[in-house]
């Protein structure tokens, strides 16, 4: 116990990091992977791909071919940067917007369409079979991610769990419980807080008095960082460092990525009810895709021809996915029962037959 009358028990600092400015100019030394032109181009491609898919999904919803859909417009750098930082063996826990990360990990556009099209088969991730599906109950993915990290620790594996959470999500107790536990056990867990300024109509200033969301990690006694989440270089760099530290036993960390939800909350939302168009326009000036494109072009790693090709590839891929999605018949009613338990109880068998009968009569 400290013995002097007035002293300081603890001191903390939340560092801030960025690599590129809003126009794509380097504002300091770049991470070494910036020498890897292939990686830079891949990240750019994935961001463009996510944005193109996103626009199509919104469009499908508007024309009645998809359910409610949460756009990722403006957040592509955070999502793709995290994907690029992860190892395939790591395990991903998302909320619902992070298609850039899912794409990077090999999830088909088709699956994403199925999920938002009201079909559970949208969670069948062939190439990242341990990743969790989208998690709609806000914050609830966090303790599960801590559990996955604990499994890795118990088995002594060099892997990491990565969990996204939104600015709104940081108000849920489950978020704090999980990062606190991760700290107490030094779990291999990296939490990326996507601060896109809004939780539906509630601005982050109303969500919390904390001047940064990164500082929430201080409550858990774990290191944290605030970064420019529209700068894919700093996302890839800082998340990569955090993952590597976690995998090698260095414990968890929290990264707050500052970005902006340019779109409505979902296709059911009308953001003009609660925020100004000026604010959205300002956000456009800082958005991540053009920024990275400028940087790549300045370094002569990208040009109009490449852009042209990419656009065509994206649109071909998207069209193919949409065609496949629209051609997919809905599941049989059996699917409601077949996956509930390994061995469904006898009573369910009767209900299964009943459902099948009514489906047949409905045609």
């Amino acid at each position: 116990m400290l013995m002097s009358a007035h002293t300081v028990a603890a001191r903390f600092e939340i560092p801030y990091r960025a690599c590129l400015d809003a126009d794509g100019n380097p504002i300091g030394p770049l991470p070494s992977f910036a020498q890897d032109a292939q990686l830079l181009r891949d990240m750019y491609r994935m961001m463009v791909r996510a944005r193109a898919f996103d626009a199509k999904a919104v469009n499908l919803q508007r024309t009645g071919k998809l359910g409610t859909y949460p756009s990722c417009l403006g957040q592509e750098a955070t999502h793709v940067g995290v994907g690029a930082a992860m190892d395939p063996e790591d395990v991903l826990f998302t909320v619902y917007r992070e298609i850039g990360t899912k794409f990077w990990r090999g999830v088909d556009m088709y699956r994403i369409l199925l999920y938002w099209g009201g079909d559970e088969r949208g969670t069948l991730y062939e190439r990242c079979p341990q990743d969790f599906p989208f998690c709609v109950p806000i914050g609830s993915q966090m303790p599960q991610a801590a559990g996955a990290a604990l499994a890795m620790q118990i088995r002594g594996e060099r892997r990491c769990a990565l969990a996204f959470v939104g600015d709104g999500g940081t108000s849920q107790g489950a978020f704090y419980e999980a990062i606190n536990f991760a700290g107490a056990r030094s779990l291999p867990l990296v939490c990326v807080i996507v601060n896109n300024r809004w939780a539906i109509s509630v601005p982050v200033e109303r969500q919390t008095a904390a001047q940064t969301l990164a500082q929430k990690a201080i409550a858990a006694g774990i290191p944290a960082l605030q970064i420019d989440g529209n700068d894919v270089l700093v996302v890839r760099e800082t998340v990569g460092e955090a993952l590597e530290r976690a995998r090698s036993g260095g414990g968890p960390s929290v990264i707050e990525a500052l970005t902006y939800r340019i779109a409505d909350h979902t296709t059911s939302d009308d953001a003009s009810r609660y925020r100004t168009s000026e604010e959205v326009q300002e956000a456009w000036a800082r958005e991540p895709v053009v920024r990275l494109g400028r940087y790549l072009r300045a370094r002569r790693l990208w040009d109009d021809a490449a852009e042209e090709t990419l656009k065509r590839e994206c649109s071909d891929e998207i069209e193919a996915a949409v065609r496949r999605y629209l051609a997919t018949p809905k599941q049989s009613t059996d699917a409601m029962f077949d996956y509930l338990m390994a061995e469904p109880p006898a009573s369910l068998q009767l209900q299964r037959e009943q459902a099948r009968r009514y489906a047949a009569t409905r045609g």
Binding site: T68, G122, S171, G173, V202, Q331, M336
Partner: protein, 325 residues
Amino acid sequence: MAKITMVEAINMAHAWEMEHDPSVVVLGEDVGINGGVFRATVGLQQRFGATRVQDTPLAEGLIAGTAIGLAAQGIRPVAEIQFMGFIYPALDQIASHMARLRNRTRGRLTCPLVLRMPHGGGIHAPEHHSESLEALLCHHPGLRVVCPSSPARAYGLLLAAIRDPDPVIFLEPVRLYRFIRQDVEDDGRALPIDSCFVLREGSDVTIVTWGAMTVETLKAAEQIAAEGVSCEVIDVASLAPIDFETILDSVVKTGRLLIVHEAPRNCAVGAEIAATVSEQALYDLLGPIRRVTGYDTVMPLYRLEYDYIPSPARIVDGIRSTLAE
């Protein structure tokens, strides 16, 4: 008097009560400038100010706990949970405290408040947005659970709920929010809670149901009327405590009972109704009580949701099987 939807009626009840009782305060996620994701509280913040209509942080346990603290201090909170599927983080506050505060303090502290939330499926909403979890709440002594099925009943029952001296869970069937328009007088008149509503009189079979299933049930009753079957349709409306008198009277008259609800069957409110009626009116029953309900599986994503939710066809078959023996 204007023809309004259920969600407008709910909004109107809020406004009436806020106007007449300065202690009423509205809170929840997005209830302020956005007026709630279904617009149930639209315009209230503009009219009554940001002190009386407050957006909360995104935390349902916090919303429920805050409402308890407010209520015990003499404020009348009307709190919104954005969808019933998100009530779980609030259950500790609801069950361990809200339902018990009066009892555990021998009446010293009370908890008059309303917790409103959309209920059920049928609007092609995302995962976890279509749950019917009334049984969880009804099982807890100390709570009232109310579920209106028309604009007028929504208006009158919400007023009653806000004025009730005990906590009321107010379930709003999502697919009825804008289903019909009805003349609703904005007269501040509450409807009785703890009472069923007879929606259709009949003599061959009693059908009890609530919320959005009243619509499917009335359709089924209409359909089978063509075959000469006369259904009495009762909207239970108050799911806890239940007005068993009305239900039993009807069963004594018809001799047959069908229960229809959207929630999965096992351990649901329909089980309690079946158990109580068969206990108290066994000899009046001409055949077994039947239940047409959601299946005992997870509410599916939306492409199959109408294969899950009882349809008029299933209800008609339910009526037939009730009459078969």
